[in-house]
Every structure is written in structure tokens, then in C-alpha cells.
């Protein structure tokens, strides 16, 4: 187990190293911070002074080590637009993104798993066909277009839910949360449903294929032969067995959810990290973009590492391959 952990940790470090090199050199090739920061009346001497102040006149390898050492010290630079250090800027927006993501996952699981189990158990019923058609449509409609439809229906026509913004927040542990606040929850509902639609479709399909597979296993036949009631077989024998892949995929998809939150947050003007990224791209606020890329990469590497380790704990065969 120790050697597996070390090997896996080594792979993750290489991955982070490669990403940091890629991000740094892409930035180095594409942008000239002197040209961005210098005003028009700068003389050649001013430019050289600015370049040496920023450290961009030194050899590229020295700059790369400076870049990584700053990041390791938690210094991601200063935003051009907000004129604040980048790391706190991103961290203070993170709760808004996370709470929508958590609500979306909850909705996805609560709606998707029962629909999937029902479809798997009743393959030929009309409702199953309808569910299958709806999931195909849900997969086919782009996320942002679903968001626009939600706004038109619930905010413009019915006027029951707000179309944008975060609403009131309640402070808990020094951070504002919309979860514990009725107005906040009302604002959160549409973005969360928007993110959840794809999750619902995915969970339905996962649960359906899982159910179809598990129902033919000997232990289900045996449980039936014992004369166990149908409800008990579903809850004790079926649900527990299909839950393993569902939980894994949900964990792995957390990253995808954060990625898609850029779209949802933009449409609903939700002040999370996704909207921050899009705004920063439009304002050419490079330090924020770079910091976002690096933090997201780190998050992915950590999630993948945890999932792999969990697998290795659960399934001894993986440790030895």
C-alpha cells in the first residue's frame, strides 16, 4: 500500500509540475507584462526600469523558479482590475460556487437515482420510455440554453424566482452563505437546477444500467427465492450495489461541475469563481486567470488522487498493477 501511495503521489507531482511549466511558458510567450502595464508616455529607460522591477528581464529559467516559489508561498500576484492579491479574491468567491454545486449534486442524486432504478426495473413501461427520451433531450440541450429557458419561464413569465444575483446571505464562520437564508435560497434555486439537469440525466442512466446489471445477479435471485419483499430487495441488495459507481462518478464529476459553473454563473450573474474567471478573461486580468488555472489543476489532481486511493483501499487488485 505504501509503495502504491508513493507511486501515485509521484505521478500527481509530475502532473502538477507539467501544468505549471505549461501555464508559465504559455503566459511567457503570449503576454508582455511591460506592454500591459506601461502607459503611452513611457520612455525606453522607463520600460527597462519597469521590466527590472517586475523581474521580466532575467533569464527565463530564473523567472520560472521565481514564479513557482511565489506560488508555493501562496503569492499568486495582484489582480490588475481589483488591485487586490489574487488568492483571497478567489477564495472569498469560492463558497458561492460550492454551495450551488452541492445543491445541484443533491438535486441530481435525489431525482436521478429513483428515476434510474424505476427505469431499470420496468424496462418496457411507457414511463421508462418517457424518462429515456427526457434524458436524451436533457443531454442534448446545451447548459446555457437551459439556463435561458429557466429564466424566461420562471423569472420573466411566471415571475416567481429571481433571474440573477445572489440575494441575501447569512454569516456563518465569517463567510456569507445563501443556504441559511430564504431569499438566498430563492436566488440559488435556478442556478442549482440548471447545473443539476445534466447530473439528473447522468445519474438516471448510471442507476438504470446498474440496476439492469445487478438484477440478474445470483444474490438477487436468491433474495427473491427467500421470499424477501420487493421493497427490501431494492433497498438492501440493489441500492447498495449500484451506489458504488454512482458515488465514484459523482466525486469525479465534481470537477466538471465546477467547470460548468462558469457557464451557469455567467448567465445568472452568480458571484462565484466561474464568473470571476470569465470576467477576468474579458478584462485581460492575467494574474487571476493564471491563479484560477493553477488552483483548478491542483483541485483536479487532489480529487483524482483521493478517488484512486479510495479504490485501492476498496479493491486490493489495483494496488498491484
Amino acid at each position: 500500500m505504501l509503495s502504491f501511495t508513493l507511486r501515485r503521489l509521484g505521478q500527481s507531482s509530475v502532473l502538477v509540475l507539467i501544468m505549471s511549466v505549461l501555464v508559465f511558458f504559455c503566459m511567457y510567450i503570449v503576454t508582455d507584462p511591460v506592454a500591459v502595464l506601461a502607459s503611452d508616455d513611457f520612455t525606453e529607460e522607463d520600460r527597462i526600469a519597469l521590466a527590472s522591477e517586475l523581474g521580466v528581464d532575467r533569464p527565463i529559467l530564473v523567472q520560472y523558479f521565481q514564479f513557482t516559489s511565489n506560488i508555493l508561498h501562496g503569492d499568486f500576484g495582484t489582480s490588475f482590475v481589483y488591485n487586490k492579491p489574487v488568492l483571497p479574491l478567489i477564495l472569498e468567491r469560492l463558497p458561492a460556487t460550492l454551495e450551488v454545486a452541492i445543491l445541484a449534486i443533491t438535486i441530481g442524486l435525489c431525482a436521478g437515482v429513483p428515476m434510474g432504478i424505476y427505469s431499470g426495473l420496468n424496462r418496457r413501461k411507457k414511463i421508462t420510455k418517457a424518462i429515456s427520451f427526457i434524458t436524451t433531450i436533457g443531454y442534448s440541450i446545451p447548459n446555457f440554453w437551459q439556463a435561458l429557458l429557466l429564466i424566461i419561464v420562471f423569472a420573466v413569465w411566471l415571475r416567481i424566482l429571481p433571474a440573477s444575483g445572489r440575494g441575501d446571505t447569512t454569516f456563518l464562520f465569517g463567510i456569507g452563505w445563501s443556504f441559511f437564508n430564504l431569499d438566498g435560497l430563492r436566488h440559488m434555486l435556478l442556478p442549482a437546477v440548471n447545473l443539476a439537469i445534466y447530473k439528473i440525466c447522468m445519474q438516471t442512466r448510471l442507476a438504470r444500467s446498474g440496476t439492469q446489471e445487478v438484477m440478474f445477479q445470483d444474490y438477487i435471485t436468491f433474495a427473491r427465492a427467500k421470499g424477501l419483499p420487493r421493497q427490501r430487495i431494492i433497498r438492501r441488495h440493489l441500492l447498495r450495489n449500484i451506489l458504488i459507481p454512482i458515488v465514484t462518478i459523482t466525486g469525479l464529476e465534481l470537477g466538471g461541475l465546477i467547470a460548468f459553473s462558469t457557464v451557469t454563473e455567467t448567465v445568472f450573474s452568480w458571484p462565484g469563481i466561474g464568473k470571476l474567471l470569465i470576467d477576468s478573461i474579458h478584462h485581460a486580468d492575467r494574474p487571476v486567470v493564471v491563479a484560477y488555472l493553477i488552483l483548478i489543476t491542483l483541485m483536479f489532481v487532489i480529487i483524482n488522487f483521493i478517488v484512486d486511493m479510495a479504490y485501492a483501499v476498496l479493491d486490493p487488485r489495483i494496488r498491484h498493477t
Binding site: C26, M27, S140, P142, F144, L148, G255, F260, I296
Partner: protein, 292 residues
């Protein structure tokens, strides 16, 4: 399934929804190809646009007497014409990205299976790296760094497409490599390139061809999303996604047609492709033959 043998008639007979999808796909492709001949106006010819025609609802008459089925935008541009031209750009970007992404992915997958060793390790590690990252986010990063444009978004989507194809082809090619005819080919002294192109490629390509429709609809959706976010195609060549974004500002004031019609066309097209893709997948899956 070694060779891809799809008999269109047999695949779609008795599947009305899939057949409608196939007709729809054909319609959209023809519309994209012959768009400029069909569209009521050239939406990018500034001299033809009249600002007095701006923001007219669907089924209105324009100043020059032409009829506007889907209404007009703020500049007096006919939405139907804009949609037809946008469809061309959306489809062009998606086809180019999937084509080049597939060529690159298949080549790398075949090389990995043929050469093994450290070449395979590097290629497959790169595939793992790419697949652990959501495609839209990766494309967003690339466009953030390199700026937007039709060519740039094609590159970004190529980077999003190649990895899954490489993985798929390598898996099939590895099992093909174990077969006798590969030994004969090697004994016959054929070059590795010859073996790859004449033997390995035709026998390993089928599963990739089956998932191609899905890749194309995915690329259309991804391009629309990126353009909607304003990091995709430039304003001078608006795809369906950018048209939707342009109408977004008017949505809350009740002028729904500017973004609803491009959106409906986008959804209809993606839906048709996905229905056809599902049918291809089921048809080529031997376990499902005769079922469902």
C-alpha cells in the same frame, strides 16, 4: 465487430424517431451548404440592413417589402438569415475540430499500439492527463491564453477531441496486434508505416466511426457554449451560440425571438445528431441486436 457494415435501411427501419433524426441531420447539413442561396438576405452586408427594421417581432414585413419569419435583431438583421449563416459557422467549426481531432487521436493511438514501450507510455499518460480535465474548461483556458477566433476555437476543440479517440483506437489495435495476420505482415517484411496504414487502421477504426456523431454534437455544443461566453468566434462571424448571446440582453425586456430561434435550431440539430448517434451505437452493438 471488425469492419463497419452499416446498412442504413436495416439500421433505421422500424425506428421512427431515429429516422426523423436522420432526415433532420440531412436537412441541416444541406441548409448549411446551400445557406447563402436560401437565406432571404445576406445578414453581414451592411448596405442591406436598415436600422428602422430593428427589433421587429416574428412574421413582420421589412422596409424593403421582404417578409421576416423570425423577426429582426437590433440592427434590423433578419434572424432567419443570421441563423442560416450561423449554422454554417457552427457546423464548420465542429466538423473541422472533430476531423482533425480524430486524425490526430487515431494516429497516436495506432502508434501507441504498434510501438509500445516508452512512446506508448508518453502518449497514454498525455491521454490520462487530458481526460481527467473537463473539455470545456480546458478550451476556456486555451482561449483565455491565446485569444479567440474561428481558428483558435477549432484548435481548442481539437485538443478536446483527440484523447478519447486515441484511447479507443489503442484498445482495439492492441487486440488486433495479437492476431495472426499481423505476424504474417511482419514476416513479409512490410514497413511499420505500411502495416499501420493498410492493416491496423482499417481493422481498428470502426469503434471510432461509431462515436463520431456523438463527438460532432458535443463539439457543436462546446463551441456554442464558448461563443456564448464570449471567448469563441468573433463578432464578425457569429455562430449560433454567439447569436443567442446577442439576444440575451433583450430577453428580460420580452424580445425573446432574438435568442430563442437560434437556440431552437441549435437544440434541434444537436438532438437530431444524438438520436442518430444512439441508433448507430445500438445497431453496431451485438448485444443489443434484436432487442429494444
Amino acid at each position: 465487430m471488425n469492419r463497419l457494415e452499416i446498412n442504413l435501411w436495416a439500421a433505421f427501419r422500424g425506428h421512427p424517431v431515429a429516422t426523423i433524426g436522420l432526415v433532420g441531420v440531412t436537412f441541416f447539413i444541406l441548409l448549411a451548404i446551400f445557406g447563402p442561396l436560401i437565406a432571404p438576405q445576406n445578414p453581414y452586408d451592411q448596405t442591406r440592413l436598415d436600422i428602422l427594421d430593428g427589433l421587429l417581432p416574428p412574421m413582420s414585413k421589412l422596409g424593403d417589402g421582404t417578409f421576416s419569419l423570425m423577426g429582426t435583431d437590433a440592427l434590423g438583421r433578419d434572424i432567419l438569415s443570421a441563423v442560416i449563416y450561423g449554422l454554417r459557422i457552427s457546423l464548420f467549426v465542429a466538423f473541422m475540430a472533430v476531423f482533425f481531432g480524430t486524425v490526430i487521436g487515431v494516429t497516436l493511438g495506432l502508434i501507441a499500439a504498434l510501438r509500445r514501450g516508452w512512446i506508448e507510455t508518453i502518449i497514454m499518460r498525455a491521454v490520462d492527463l487530458k481526460i481527467s480535465f473537463p473539455g470545456v474548461l480546458l478550451a476556456l483556458m486555451l482561449l483565455a491564453v491565446f485569444g479567440s477566433g474561428v481558428d483558435k476555437i477549432i484548435y481548442a476543440l481539437i485538443i478536446g477531441t483527440w484523447a478519447s479517440k486515441a484511447r479507443l483506437v489503442r484498445a482495439v489495435a492492441l487486440s488486433e496486434m495479437k492476431k495472426e495476420y499481423m505476424d504474417f505482415a511482419r514476416i513479409a517484411g512490410l514497413s511499420q508505416f505500411h502495416i499501420m496504414m493498410r492493416f491496423l487502421l482499417p481493422n481498428s477504426i470502426a469503434p471510432v466511426l461509431v462515436v463520431l456523431p456523438m463527438s460532432i454534437s458535443g463539439a457543436i455544443g462546446a463551441e456554442a457554449t464558448l461563443s456564448f461566453l464570449g471567448v469563441g468566434v468573433p463578432i464578425t462571424e457569429p455562430s449560433l451560440g454567439l447569436l443567442i448571446a446577442n439576444g440575451n440582453d433583450y430577453l428580460l425586456s420580452g424580445k425573446w425571438w432574438i435568442s430563442i430561434f437560434p437556440g431552437l435550431v441549435l437544440v434541434a440539430m444537436v438532438l437530431c445528431i444524438n438520436v442518430v448517434a444512439d441508433r448507430f451505437r445500438d445497431y453496431t452493438n451485438p448485444f443489443l441486436q434484436g432487442k429494444a
